[in-house]
């Protein structure tokens, strides 16, 4: 049995192995993913993002338990940062989810970013597809602790949840571009701390500044995740949002957009590999020296190298 068949037959180790293969960017991973493609598209993918320590993993834990109570299976992909210096990583999101480990309806996978910016790992979208084909009803994708511009999650998730907490900045932070623009649902976690109402109001005011009147107005929910408070309200809004996507036709548009982006990524990555194979190493080394000596600039040098490749391709 190959890995794709093992995933489809419900073999957990097969799922884990295939995700590792995707992380290593092994050629066979793409073959296996190809075989799974027609079995995907059934899961509701939920993205969770927000600053470090805001309680993302704890919220994921509580949401997963609530979904299990509704008899839904849950896949979780939790991303933590890889060291840019050593390539190592401590993947510690599971610490908040230990109660989930032995539930056969749950599969958790931790990932390092491995140099990828944007809040996720390059393999995250592949891992989502594997879990989707494996039959998970809900897939929760948790980003690294995100600052302002880690917005990649939005092109991987149907429903994006931003987890904030009181006291992280004034209202100017809420009208800055970036992460605050991508939330379908806002959670103010640790809302027993001082300033929760103020934070809620600031986000509310920010949403009110939107000149386009969107059909979906992101709700703001206060939670104390550690105690499970507010989690039911979040679940309700997640379901409302999914229903909205389906009813409004946004869902189909999202899928198409996602496919376009994925195709673009694939083209670029495969093109990169092709270029690497046919680039003239000697010429490249000479050009590096020339650039160092200021005989040529990097832009012109790249054009020169690519001209060679263009000629080769047209042969």
């Amino acid at each position: 049995m190959d890995l794709a068949e093992r995933v489809l037959s419900g073999d957990k180790r097969g799922v884990a192995r295939l995700i590792s293969l995707i992380e290593s960017e092994d050629e066979d991973a793409y073959v296996q993913l190809g075989k799974l493609h027609s079995h995907t598209g059934n899961a509701h993918i939920i993205g969770i993002t927000g600053p470090p320590g805001s309680g993302k993993s704890t919220i994921v834990d509580k949401l997963a338990k609530a979904f299990r109570g509704m008899d839904k299976t849950v896949g979780i992909i939790a991303v933590d940062p890889t060291s840019p210096f050593t390539g190592g990583a401590i993947l510690g999101d599971r610490i908040r989810m230990t109660d989930l480990t032995l539930d056969p309806g749950i599969f958790i996978r931790s990932m390092g970013t491995r140099g990828h910016l944007g809040g996720l790992s390059r393999a995250a979208s592949g891992a989502v597809r594997v879990m989707d084909a494996y039959g998970m009803d809900i897939i929760i994708l948790e980003t690294v602790g995100a600052g302002q511009s880690e917005v990649e999650i939005v092109s991987h998730a149907h429903t994006t949840i931003i987890v904030e907490m009181p006291g992280l900045g004034d209202e100017i932070q809420t009208i800055k571009a970036g992460i605050m623009e991508i939330g379908d649902i806002f959670i103010i976690n640790k809302s027993d701390r001082e300033g929760a109402d103020k934070t809620s109001m600031e986000i509310q005011a920010m949403l009110g500044l939107n000149p386009n009147k969107p059909e979906w107005v992101p709700p703001i929910i206060q939670t104390i995740a550690r105690k499970g408070k507010g989690v039911d309200a979040v679940i309700e809004k997640i379901e409302d949002h999914y229903q909205y996507l389906k009813d409004s036709g946004m869902y189909e548009k999202m899928i198409e957009q996602g496919i376009r982006e994925e195709l673009d990524v694939q083209i670029k990555s495969q093109l990169g590999r092709i270029i690497k194979n046919i680039i003239n190493e000697e010429k490249l080394e000479d050009l590096v020296k020339d650039i160092v000596d200021k005989n040529i600039d990097p832009h012109t040098a790249a054009r020169l190298l690519l001209k060679d490749i263009e000629d080769k391709l047209s042969e």
Partner: protein, 134 residues
């Protein structure tokens, strides 16, 4: 193309609440370029094995300072065997008396790192047995 990165689960089985050693080892392995999955305190052997499967790790490092290593460590290796897994390296660390080590090895614990083990020894051991972290 990036290579397969070695993944190591650092786990604390049982009721012992002392995790400084486990954290130091986790941090050292991180700095050596490994991906370390850290699950925190109070894990049952069943949870450890299930985590190792889902995370597709190459090695498990068990830390125990409570004296229950003779029960907990072999239980992990037994459960692995029951699930048909024979390609995950299992090591242990903590307060383990010298005379217990042969029995632990017999039970499938590949190596026991006692108190005072230089961190580099642990790193070298995993580099040697599972391939480099980088």
């Amino acid at each position: 193309m990036s290579e397969r990165k070695t993944r190591i689960l650092i786990a604390k089985p049982g009721l012992d609440g002392h995790d400084r050693g486990a954290k130091i080892v986790a941090r050292a392995l991180r700095d050596a370029g490994f991906e370390v999955i850290y699950t925190g305190l109070h894990q049952t052997p069943e949870q450890i094995v299930e985590t190792a499967i889902q995370e597709d790790v190459d090695a498990i490092g068990l830390s125990c300072l409570s004296g229950a290593h003779m029960t907990l460590f072999p239980k992990v290796t037994r459960l692995l065997k029951e699930r048909g897994i024979d390609d995950i390296l299992v090591t242990g660390g903590g307060i383990v008396p010298e005379e217990d080590i042969p029995a632990l090895k017999e039970a499938g614990i590949d190596k026991v790192f006692g108190p005072g083990t230089p961190l580099q020894d642990i790193i070298d051991y995993h580099n040697d047995k599972c391939g480099t972290g980088k």
